[in-house]
């Protein structure tokens, strides 16, 4: 990967952020801990100084200033003069004892910090001192050198330094490992999308089997791609279908117009040709509309507008629309409504109406006079079955699958003027509703059933 791309990678950025954050937090933890330690040590030292001062002060009680000076020298002996400073000054200003010989007046009673120079010491060190007046007579100063943190402090510091180094290493190594793995998965997604945009619609993001968000994203992308591929396929199918079924009427139309032009030249009336041309155009338009409608249904956009549909009401409507139409064709038409209360399904009323219309109109068109057409709906626990059956010529069982395809017409009905799209629209509507569409022989005749999921009514309160 090139550096520019590296910085634009979310994974690398996340890893870097992670590294910086963990480094900063280790550093802060170290700093806080050593500060706390320092504070503790300083407290401890002040405590020590004060203890010594109190001991010296108490030693005065028994044998006067001499006793104090003796104790003081004992302390100096014990500490070998290292780090500690002591000085006792009599009421007259004379030095009674101690390991420094000059005392700057700047040293105020109580706690203070002074330079070694003020005490006549070389080395430029600073001292922490406690100064007080014992029994209103002797001025006593006890002090201790400011030191670097002691051994413990250094240990803590060192361990934090190491921890810091380890943390940085871990952050960098772990971060880049994580980044690398994420990058690989992102790259897989990118590569897939690249292939898709280059026209390879079958490409899918490989799934790793882990149940995480990238996996979910990949799954979502894949199902979006599935839908995309399906609608592209539909589009291609539609174009092929249009080419297939519109060319014939268009060429007939052209011939009719040529004929009319011919007649026109010979000053013959052309009304018949014009009428037949208009009819041809109507047919082309009907086919177009049917195709577009099927494509639109198959695209599934209508699903978002699904509402409860009362199947009984729909069948009653069909009864009102078609009973007389069938009677005019010499057929009988009957409807049986579900015995139970309302059978609702979730769906698109307009499309369901068109679906039933197509089935009923097919029966009316293809059945001879004297046939009967029967529509029924039966409600089961989880399903509603809607059936349109007739006792007409039916469809041979081996053709049942094929009649649902676009433009498929039984040879004998080729000339009957339909678009050949009626049953494919029925299929498309059934699919949109996730309904099972079944064609059965009614011995004689055809029985088409659509089995919908029954809508659960909310329990009345």
């Amino acid at each position: 990967m090139r550096p520019a791309r590296l910085l634009h990678s979310t994974a690398i950025r996340m890893a870097l952020t992670y590294a910086v954050l963990s480094t900063v937090s280790v550093f802060l933890a170290g700093a806080t801990a050593s500060q706390l330690l320092k504070w503790q040590l300083f407290n401890h030292r002040d405590h020590d100084i004060h203890n010594v001062y109190t001991a010296l002060e108490n030693s005065y009680g028994h044998g006067g200033a001499t006793n104090l000076v003796n104790t003081l020298h004992a302390y100096i002996q014990e500490t070998l003069g290292h780090n500690w400073l002591f000085i006792a000054i009599g009421p007259g200003g004379q030095v009674l004892g101690g390991n420094v010989h000059a005392l700057s007046l700047a040293i105020t009673p109580g706690w203070s910090s002074v330079d070694g120079a003020q005490l006549g010491l070389t080395g430029g060190r600073r001292y922490r001192v406690y100064s007080g007046i014992v029994r209103n007579k002797v001025r006593l100063v006890v002090g201790m050198k400011f030191q670097q943190l002691g051994y413990l402090g250094r240990l803590v510091q060192t361990s934090f330094e190491w921890a810091f180094v380890v943390a940085v290493l871990l952050a960098v190594v772990g971060g880049s490992l994580i980044a690398h793995r994420m990058q690989r998965r992102f790259d897989a997604v990118r590569e897939t999308m690249d292939r898709v945009s280059r026209g390879e619609l079958a490409a899918r993001v490989p799934l790793s089997g882990r149940n995480d968000d990238i996996e979910q994203l990949s799954g979502d992308l894949n199902s979006a791609l599935d839908r995309l591929a399906a609608s592209v396929e539909t589009m291609q199918q539609v174009s092929a279908d249009i080419a297939h079924d519109l060319k014939t009427p268009l060429s007939r139309l052209k011939m009719t117009i040529a004929e009319a032009l011919d007649k026109q030249e010979r000053s013959q009336p052309v009304a018949a040709e014009l009428e037949s041309a208009a009819a041809e155009v109507d047919q082309v338009n009907r086919t177009f509309n049917a195709l577009l409608r099927i494509a639109q249904i198959e695209a599934g956009a209508r699903k978002t507008a699904f509402k409860p549909v009362d199947i009984s009401a729909l069948l009653t409507m069909m009864d009102e629309v078609y009973r007389e139409v069938a009677r005019d064709a010499g057929q009988s038409f009957s409807v049986a409504l579900p015995a139970t209360a309302k059978a609702d399904i979730m769906g698109d009323r307009e499309l369901l109406m068109q679906m039933l219309s197509n089935l009923i109109e097919n029966s009316i068109r293809y059945c001879p006079a004297g046939s009967s057409i029967h529509c029924s709906a039966t409600a089961h626990d989880d399903t509603v079955r809607v059936t349109v059956a007739d006792n007409g010529p039916g469809i041979p069982e081996n053709e049942h699958e094929r009649v649902l395809r676009r433009f498929y017409r039984l040879e004998k009905s080729r000339t009957s003027g339909g678009t050949g799209l009626g049953l494919s629209l029925v299929k498309a509507v059934a699919d949109l509703h996730d309904a099972e569409l079944r064609l059965d022989s009614a011995h004689p005749g055809l029985m088409v059933s659509a089995i919908f999921a029954r809508r659960r009514r909310p329990v009345a309160t």
């Binding site: 409608r293 409507m317 139409v325 005019d328 307009e350 109109e361 068109r365």
Partner: protein, 225 residues
Amino acid sequence: MHLLLIEDDKKTSSHVAQGFQEKGHVCDVVEDGKAGLEEAVHGSYDVIIVDRMLPTLDGLSLVKALRAANSIVPVIYLTAIDGIDDRVAGLEAGADDYLTKPFAFSELAARVKALTRRHAAPAKVTTLQVADLEMDLVKRSVKRAGRNIVLQTREFLLLEVLMRAAGQVLTRNMLLEQVWDIHFDPKTSIVETHISRLRAKIDKPFGEPLLHTVRSCGYTLRAPG
């Protein structure tokens, strides 16, 4: 009537404008969406006919903008494809009717007429009358020459739609939409069948027919003479 046609296809617009002019109406034509909206907002028109696909501003946005400007002038859409969602979207945007291309001029003329009537009609009526045919919308009863006529639910609705539009032509598609809520092209003669049933009940026994077929266009119910 003063009509505004917003349509970019010159052939369609000249065909439509000429048709209306022959019927004695004034029809202004605008070819792009923005100019059309301007004209629609500032002119005073009885009906506006809008193509769905227009340059500079599409028909859907045009109608939305028109309604946003508090205009209540009836609008009819011309749509190139008979998409179900297109129709719903068009009506939701504030159009009053729609017509799918290709269309017959007679269909457009009938729908435009119906729109002006719908807008002028009194809000609430309880009885309708055409010659000696009476309909009581409250009692749901129909009488002709004082004799009761029994109609089925859908027949009653069909007659109601025809009587409300008495004197004007209702096309087959208008009846399918208004009476049966059918927005697709049925392959059987639904309208013809029901009209002939209705005729048998309201016209046949009475001699003078009120319900007339308008050739290659639709039906009309009108008083004789």
